[in-house]
C-alpha cells in the first residue's frame, strides 16, 4: 500500500521574486517563504539572465541566510587591545556613525586623499564610486584591478565591448566556440545554458586551458596550454589565417582601423601615430579616388594593404600591412610556437582553419533589414558563427592585456563580432574606443577640501596627459593607478592598497574603508605578510598603526573583519534594497538591456544595516552636494528614495525601467515615485528587448546608436571603429622613448616598461615574474580555479556547500607525479620566491604536465566564518595566496614594482612559479597556520552537531 505523500502547505507560504547575490551573475530568483523562513529558492523562468535555472550557490542561499557567521551588531576594537587580536566591544549604530562622521569630516576638510575606500565584488559601484567622487578622494576602486581589468581594458581599447560582463557569445547561432581560460566566469548560468545549446546544435566547443574540469570537461577538444602562452597561441592562429588569406576583407575595411595609415618615422616624434587630417581624423588611402581620405567617413574605398607617402613626405603604412609584416613572420608559425605553448603545431593550424571554415563557409544570414551608421541600408545581417569567450586564464597574467587583444584580433580578422553566432555586446556596450571617460587628475581639485571630484576616480586614459600624477610624475592615488608604472589601470589596483598604505608610498592614509573584500585573506596576495602590515605600527607616531583607522563593512565574520577597528555589519541579500544598475556592471544580455533590484523579503533579526543605507546617511551628514538640498538639508530620505530620485543626467538614473512620472518610459525619463513597486510587481527586473534591427553590428548600427546616444550609453551617434592598432598605447610608448610632446617618465624603469610593453599591436612576452625567477629551480606553474559551487571565501560558511568541498588539494599531472614519487594524498611542500606552504596532493590526467593547481579560497583561518576551530578548511585546506607576491622579485638598482600587468595593473595571480617536494613523514596538515579568530560579541548562534533544517512549521520526519 502506498504511503500518503505530504504536499506543500501552500496556504502558509508566500512567493516573492528578487535577485540572487551569491555571485555576480545576478540571476532572478523565486523565493518561497513559510513563516518568515526560507522554504525554497528557485530560478525565475522569466528572468533574462538565468531563464529559470539556478546554480548550487543560488539554491544554497538558504544556508547563507541562516549562517552562524552573520554579524549581529556594530563592533569597535576594544581599547587597549591590538589590531588583529580580534577582541571587540559592541557599540550602537549612533556611536558608530558619529565616530565615522567625525573622522571623515576631518579628512574631507583637510586632505580628502587620506581616505581610501575600496570595495570587493561590490554590485553597486555606481553608488560607491559616486560616493567617493562626492567625498573628493581619488582613492576608490572596486575589485576590477585584481580581477579582470585586462579583459575589460583589452576589449574597451580594441572592440568597444569586452569579455568580463560586457559581451556574451551568441549561443543561439554559434557553431564554433573557442573558450580561453574560463572555469566559471561571472556569467555562470548563461554559459552553462549556452554550452548545452551549442552542443545540442552540433556546434564544436574547443577549450584552451591547462586544466580539464568543469566546462572544459565537456569540450569537444582540449588544448592543454602552458600557462601564460595564450598570446603566442592566438598570434600563431593569426599567422595561419593570414597565410591562408582567411580574413573578412569587408569587415576589416568597414568596421576596423585595419586600413588606417600609420606614420613610419622611427626615432622621431609622431612615429607610430595615425596619419591625420587637419580635423584630427585618421586617414586612409582611397584606391578608388586615389587620395587620402577621412577613415571614419562612409563611402570610401580604403586600401587595406600598402605603403604610401603622406603629403608631408612621411612614410605611412596601413595597419593591415604592419600586421601582416609582424604576424606572418616565422616566429609565429605553429611549428615555432608549439614547444613554448606545449601544444602540437598540427592542432594550432587545424583549429585556426576550422574556425575559418565555419566563419566563411557556414555563415549565418538573417533576413533583418538594418541601416549602418553611414546611412547605407542592408537587407540582411551576416553572422560568422565563431564565438569566443576568455577570462582569467588570460587576464590574471602580466601579459594578459596583450593576450586578450590578440584574441580580439582573431575575432576581428574573422569579422566575428556582434553579429549572429559570434561574440555580442551587452548594453550599455559597445562604447567608443576607449570610452570617453577620464579619471580625475586635476591635482587642485583632488587636494581641495570639501570638494567633490569633477570626474569619477576611474576612467580610460588615452595619452600621458591623462595620467593621475603630480608635476614630478609621482602617483596621486594610493594604489598608483594611472601612474607611469601602470598607466591605463582602468579599475585601480586594489591589491596594492594595503602594501602602499603601509609603506606610506606615495603617502599615508588616515582611514581605509573596505567593503565586502576579504583583503586579509583570499583576495590579497602575500597573505601572511599583509596581515603583518595591517598590524604594523608607525615608528614615527608611537601607538598609531601605519594604516591608522580601518573600517570593514561585511555581513559575515571573515578573516578581514578581524583586523577592523570598526566593523559595520551589513544585511544579507534577502533583507535589503539593492539595485543592479545599467550605470554599473550590467546584467544585460545581447538581446536585451536589463537591470534588476532586490528588496527585503525576510524580517531583520539583528542590529544590522544595509551599507547603501549607511552610505546615503553618511553622504547626507557630510553634506555631499549631490545628497544635499541648497538649504543644506538632506536630499534623500533613504536609499530607495535616492535610487528613485537621483539623476545622473536628466532622465537617466540608477534604474532604467518604469521611468517617467507615470512609469511608462523605459531607459530614460523623469523619476517615478512608484518605481520600486513597479519592479516588485514585475518580478524585480526590467528588460528592454532590442528590436531585430538594433540587435546586431551595434558598433555601426544607426538605429541602435541613436537610441544609445539618447539614453546616454554613448555620447553621440558615431561609428565605433574597432582598433587593431591602438594609438593610445603608442603615445605612451613614445613617452617612454622620449619622443612625446607632453609628460614623460623620468625613471629608467618606467621608460623601459613603456617602450617594451606599450606595443600598439598585440604582442607576447614572458610574464614578468617568470622573467625574474629561475625556471630550473621553480619548474612548475601554479594556478587556482573557481569551484562552481563556491564563491571565493564566502561559501565555506554554507553548511550544504562545505560538504561538497571542505578541503582543497593540490592537483598535478599523474605521470609527472609518478616521476617524482608523489602519490595521491601525500603531503607536499610548495615553495615560490615569496614563501612556502604545505598541502595535500591529488593526481589527475587532466592537468598540463608543468602545471599544478588548486581550488580557490577554500582554505580558511581558524575560527572564521562561524566554523569551529577544527574545521578542515582551516586544518587541511590551504591558500595559494601565501606564495604569490604583490611585488615582483627584487632586481638590483630598481625600485620594487607591482606584480601586475604593466599596461593595466591587473594583478598577475597566475604568473606564479613554484617547486614542490614531498613532506617528511609525519609532516601533515596545512601550513602556515594562524591564530584562531575569537568569537565576536553578539555571536549567540547555536552550532549543533546535527543540523536538521526544515522550513515547515509542522510535519517533520
Amino acid at each position: 500500500m502506498n504511503a500518503k505523500i505530504k504536499l506543500e502547505n501552500h496556504d502558509a507560504q508566500e512567493i516573492k521574486y528578487t535577485t540572487c547575490y551569491m555571485c555576480a551573475c545576478r540571476c532572478g530568483i523565486k523565493v518561497t517563504l513559510e513563516d518568515n523562513k526560507v522554504r525554497f529558492i528557485q530560478g525565475n523562468r522569466n528572468h533574462p539572465t538565468n531563464q529559470g535555472v539556478l546554480c548550487a550557490k543560488g539554491s544554497a542561499g538558504i544556508m547563507k541566510q541562516y549562517s552562524t557567521a552573520k554579524l549581529t551588531q556594530p563592533l569597535m576594537r576594544k581599547p587597549g587591545t591590538e589590531r588583529g587580536e580580534g577582541v571587540y566591544e559592541a557599540i550602537s549604530w549612533d556611536q558608530a556613525l558619529d565616530i565615522l562622521t567625525d573622522r571623515l569630516e576631518e579628512i574631507r576638510s583637510t586632505d580628502p586623499s587620506k581616505l581610501g575606500f575600496f570595495t570587493g565584488r561590490d554590485q553597486m559601484q555606481a553608488l560607491t564610486g559616486l560616493w567617493a567622487q562626492q567625498f573628493g578622494t581619488p582613492n576608490w576602486s572596486a575589485h576590477g584591478g585584481f580581477c579582470s581589468v585586462n579583459m575589460a581594458a583589452a576589449g574597451l581599447y580594441s572592440i568597444g565591448f569586452s569579455f568580463w560582463e560586457f559581451g556574451a557569445p551568441d549561443w543561439d547561432y554559434a557553431k564554433y566556440f573557442l573558450m580561453w581560460g574560463v572555469a566559471e566566469d561571472h556569467s555562470s548560468n548563461p554559459i552553462k545554458i549556452g554550452l548545452e545549446k551549442l552542443k545540442r546544435r552540433g556546434g564544436k566547443f574547443v577549450t584552451v586551458n591547462p586544466v580539464r574540469t568543469g566546462y572544459s570537461a565537456i569540450a569537444d577538444e582540449w588544448l592543454p596550454i602552458k600557462p601564460g602562452m595564450d598570446g603566442l597561441l592566438a598570434m600563431s592562429m593569426v599567422h595561419v589565417l593570414l597565410k591562408h588569406e582567411k580574413f573578412d576583407y569587408e569587415f576589416l575595411v568597414r568596421y576596423t582601423n585595419a586600413s588606417w595609415l600609420v606614420v613610419q618615422t622611427p626615432g622621431q616624434k609622431g612615429d607610430g601615430l595615425f596619419l591625420r587630417d587637419e580635423n584630427d581624423h585618421p586617414l586612409v588611402w582611397d584606391i578608388d579616388k586615389e587620395a587620402f581620405r577621412n577613415g571614419i567617413d562612409g563611402d570610401i574605398a580604403p586600401a587595406l594593404f600598402g605603403e604610401f607617402v603622406a603629403p608631408d613626405g612621411r612614410r605611412v603604412k596601413t595597419v593591415m600591412s604592419l600586421m601582416v609584416e609582424r604576424y606572418l613572420d616565422e616566429r609565429y608559425a605553429p611549428e615555432n610556437v608549439a614547444l613554448e605553448c606545449g601544444l602540437p603545431a598540427e592542432s594550432i593550424e587545424r583549429i585556426a582553419l576550422e574556425m575559418a571554415h565555419v566563419a566563411f563557409q557556414e555563415t549565418v544570414e538573417l533576413p533583418i533589414e538594418w541601416t549602418d551608421v553611414w546611412g547605407r541600408k542592408h537587407d540582411k545581417v551576416v553572422g560568422r558563427p565563431v564565438a569566443m569567450y576568455a577570462m582569467r586564464g588570460i587576464s590574471a597574467h602580466s601579459n594578459g592585456f596583450h593576450s586578450c587583444r590578440a584574441i580580439h584580433m582573431i575575432q576581428m580578422l574573422l569579422g566575428a563580432l556582434d553579429a549572429p553566432g559570434n561574440f555580442r555586446a551587452r548594453a550599455p556596450y559597445p562604447k567608443p574606443i576607449p570610452p570617453h571617460q577620464l579619471p580625475e587628475n586635476n591635482i587642485d581639485i583632488i587636494n581641495a577640501p570639501n570638494t567633490p571630484l569633477s570626474r569619477p576616480p576611474l576612467g580610460f586614459p588615452t595619452r600621458p596627459e591623462d595620467l593621475v600624477i603630480d608635476e614630478f610624475g609621482n602617483p596621486l592615488r594610493i594604489d598608483k593607478a594611472y601612474s607611469w608604472e601602470v598607466p591605463i589601470a582602468s579599475h585601480g589596483l586594489m591589491h596594492m592598497v594595503i602594501t602602499n598604505a603601509t609603506n606610506h608610498d606615495p603617502y599615508a592614509l588616515d582611514t581605509l574603508i573596505l567593503f565586502m573584500a576579504n583583503m586579509a585573506w583570499n583576495s590579497t596576495m602575500n597573505t601572511a605578510n599583509i596581515q603583518d602590515m595591517l598590524r604594523a605600527k608607525d615608528p614615527e607616531e608611537p601607538g598609531q598603526y601605519k594604516i591608522p583607522f580601518l573600517v570593514v563593512i561585511d555581513a559575515f565574520h571573515s578573516e578581514m573583519t578581524n583586523f577592523a577597528d570598526l566593523i559595520l555589519p551589513d544585511t544579507t541579500y534577502l533583507e535589503r534594497h539593492d539595485c543592479i544598475s545599467l550605470l554599473d556592471r550590467p546584467i544585460s544580455e545581447p538581446d536585451a538591456a536589463a537591470d534588476a533590484i532586490r528588496y527585503p523579503l525576510v524580517k531583520l533579526d539583528r542590529d544590522v544595516r544595509p551599507w547603501q543605507e549607511v552610505m546615503v546617511e553618511l553622504a547626507s551628514r557630510l553634506k555631499f552636494p549631490a545628497f544635499t538640498k541648497p538649504d543644506g538639508t538632506r536630499k534623500f530620505k533613504d536609499y530607495p528614495d535616492f535610487i528613485v530620485n537621483f539623476e545622473r543626467s536628466p532622465g537617466v538614473g540608477f534604474l532604467a525601467g518604469w521611468r517617467g512620472k507615470d512609469g511608462t518610459k523605459s531607459l530614460k525619463g523623469e523619476p517615478n515615485p512608484n518605481q520600486w513597486d513597479k519592479y516588485i510587481e514585475n518580478q524585480s527586473f526590467f528588460a528592454h528587448h532590442w528590436p531585430d534591427n538594433q540587435k546586431y553590428m551595434r558598433y555601426a548600427n544607426k538605429d541602435y546608436l541613436e537610441v544609445a546616444a539618447d539614453v546616454g550609453f554613448v555620447g553621440k551617434v558615431e561609428p565605433i571603429i574597432m582598433q587593431f592598432y591602438s594609438e593610445p598605447l603608442q603615445k605612451f610608448r613614445l613617452a617612454g622613448q622620449g619622443l612625446y610632446d607632453g609628460p614623460q617618465p623620468n625613471n629608467q624603469v618606467d621608460r623601459e616598461r613603456l617602450v617594451k610593453y606599450f606595443d600598439p599591436l598585440p604582442m607576447w612576452y614572458e610574464p614578468l615574474e617568470q622573467q625574474r625567477v629561475d625556471k630550473e629551480e621553480y619548474p612548475f606553474f601554479a594556478l587556482t580555479q573557481r569551484p562552481m559551487f563556491m564563491y571565493h571565501s564566502w561559501d565555506s560558511q554554507n553548511v550544504w556547500l562545505r560538504q561538497i568541498m571542505a578541503q582543497n588539494y593540490m592537483y598535478m599531472n599523474s605521470r609527472r607525479a609518478a616521476e617524482m614519487g608523489i602519490q595521491d594524498f601525500d603531503w607536499i611542500w610548495v615553495e615560490s620566491h615569496n614563501g612556502k606552504i604545505r598541502c595535500q596532493v591529488k593526481t589527475m590526467e587532466g592537468t598540463q604536465e608543468d602545471t599544478i593547481w588548486t581550488w580557490n579560497a577554500i582554505g580558511k583561518q581558524k575560527g572564521a566564518w562561524g566554523l569551529k576551530e577544527n574545521a578542515s578548511e582551516a586544518t587541511r585546506g590551504f591558500l595559494l595566496n601565501h606564495l604569490i607576491s604583490e611585488l615582483l622579485p627584487e632586481k638590483a638598482g630598481e625600485r620594487r614594482v607591482t606584480n601586475s600587468d604593466p599596461v593595466t595593473g591587473q594583478a598577475a595571480w597566475f604568473d606564479l612559479r613554484v617547486k614542490i617536494w614531498k613532506a617528511a613523514p609525519g609532516e601533515t596538515g596545512s601550513w602556515p597556520q594562524f591564530d584562531a579568530l575569537k568569537k565576536l560579541p553578539g555571536d549567540n548562534y547555536d552550532r549543533p552537531d546535527v543540523l536538521r533544517y526544515d522550513a515547515r512549521s509542522h510535519e517533520k520526519n
Binding site: Q803, M805, A806, M844, S872
Partner: protein
C-alpha cells in the same frame, strides 16, 4: 563492507544456537553415546535458545529505528531478512514445546514431531540468514550458494562442538559426538576453503567501466563530490588489505578448524577431555567470529566502483 559487531555477534551466536539445538534433537532421537537425561537436554536446549535469543536481541542494536522492528515480519514473501525473522520466531515456540515435551515426559510421537519441526526450522532459519547475504547481487563475494552452505556448516560446526562439550560434561560416551563434530567441522572447513578459493578468482563482476557506462577507455575517479565520508563510505567503504585478510584466514582455519580438530583427537584419546572440549568449543566459536568479520571485511559492494574501485 563495514563489519558491524552486532551483526557478527548475532550471526555467530544464533548460528551456534540453531546448530546446537538441531544436533541436540538428533542426539536425543538416536540416544547418541547413551543419551542425555531429560534435565540435561532441557539445559542444553536452554543454552541453545539463549544463544539464539541474545543473537536476535543484539541484531536489533543494529537497527537505527528499532521501534519499527516488529514490522520486519511483514515481507515474508520477498525478503530473506523478513523470512529469517519469521522462521526464528516460529522456531521459538516449537522449540519450547519440544523442551516441554522432554521436561514433562510427553508422548514420544509428540516430542519427536516438535523436535523434528524445530530442527528443520532451525536449519531453515540459518539457511535464511545465509540467504540474506547470498541474495545480494551487489556483492559478488556473497552472491553465491556457498554462503548459505557456509552459514549452515559453521553454525552446525559450532553447535556440534558445544554438543560435544555437553556430552563430555554429561559423562556420555563421546565417540559419536566426536565423530559428528569431526564430520561437520571437516565439511565446514572444506566449504570455507572452497569459498576462500572461489572469492580469490576475479569472476565476471561489474567494473568501473560498466558502472559508469564509459567502456571505451580506462576510467579513473577524480573526485567523489564530498570531501568527508558519507553514509556510503561508512557502510561500504571498508577495505581490508590482502595481506591482513590472508593472515586472518590462517586464524580462521587455525581457530575454527585445526584447533578444534586437534582437541577432538585429544578428547578421543583421553576419553575424558573436558578441558579439551572447552577449548574446542571456544576455539570453534571464536574462529567463526573471525570468519564472520572477514566475511564482511572481504565483501566489496559495487557502489565502491563509483568511489574509484576498478572492479569489485
Amino acid at each position: 563492507m563495514h563489519p558491524a559487531f552486532s551483526v557478527i555477534f548475532f550471526t555467530v551466536a544464533s548460528g551456534a544456537g540453531f546448530g546446537l539445538f538441531s544436533l541436540l534433537f538428533i542426539a536425543d532421537t538416536f540416544k547418541l553415546g547413551g543419551g542425555f537425561t531429560p534435565a540435561q537436554l532441557v539445559i542444553g536446549g536452554i543454552v541453545a535458545l539463549g544463544l539464539i535469543g541474545f543473537g536476535l536481541l543484539s541484531s536489533t542494536f543494529h537497527l537505527a529505528n528499532p521501534k519499527n522492528a516488529w514490522r520486519a515480519f511483514s515481507r515474508f514473501r520477498t525478503s530473506w531478512l523478513s523470512r529469517e525473522g519469521v522462521f526464528a520466531v516460529v522456531f521459538m515456540p516449537l522449540a519450547l514445546v519440544y523442551l516441554a515435551c522432554i521436561g514433562f515426559d510427553a508422548p514420544l510421537w509428540l516430542r519427536e514431531t516438535f523436535g523434528l519441526l524445530s530442527a528443520v526450522l532451525a536449519w531453515i532459519t540459518v539457511f535464511s540468514t545465509g540467504m540474506i547475504y547470498a541474495c545480494l547481487k551487489t556483492i559478488r563475494q556473497w552472491n553465491t550458494p556457498l554462503v548459505p552452505a557456509n552459514y549452515l556448516a559453521l553454525g552446525y560446526a559450532s553447535g556440534s562442538l558445544l554438543l560435544l562439550l555437553g556430552a563430555v560434561m554429561a559423562g556420555l560416551d563421546t565417540l559419536p559426538y566426536i565423530a559428528m563434530a569431526a564430520l561437520i567441522v571437516s565439511i565446514a572447513a572444506v566449504l570455507k576453503a572452497i569459498y576462500y578459493f572461489w572469492i580469490r578468482s576475479p569472476g565476471l563482476t561489474p567494473t568501473i567501466n560498466t558502472a559508469t557506462g564509459l567502456t571505451r577507455a580506462k576510467v579513473k575517479l577524480l573526485d567523489t563530490g564530498h570531501t568527508h565520508g558519507t553514509f556510503l563510505t561508512q557502510e561500504f567503504g571498508f577495505q581490508i588489505a590482502r595481506k591482513k585478510a590472508g593472515l586472518l584466514k590462517i586464524v580462521v582455519f587455525g581457530l575454527g578448524f585445526v584447533l578444534p580438530g586437534l582437541m577432538l583427537v585429544w578428547v578421543f584419546n583421553e576419553r575424558d577431555g573436558q578441558a579439551a572440549a572447552i577449548i574446542a568449543a571456544f576455539a570453534g566459536i571464536a574462529g567463526a567470529a573471525v570468519e564472520r568479520w572477514l566475511f564482511f571485511a572481504e565483501a566489496r559492494h559495487v557502489v565502491n566502483l563509483y568511489h574509484g574501485a576498478q572492479r569489485c
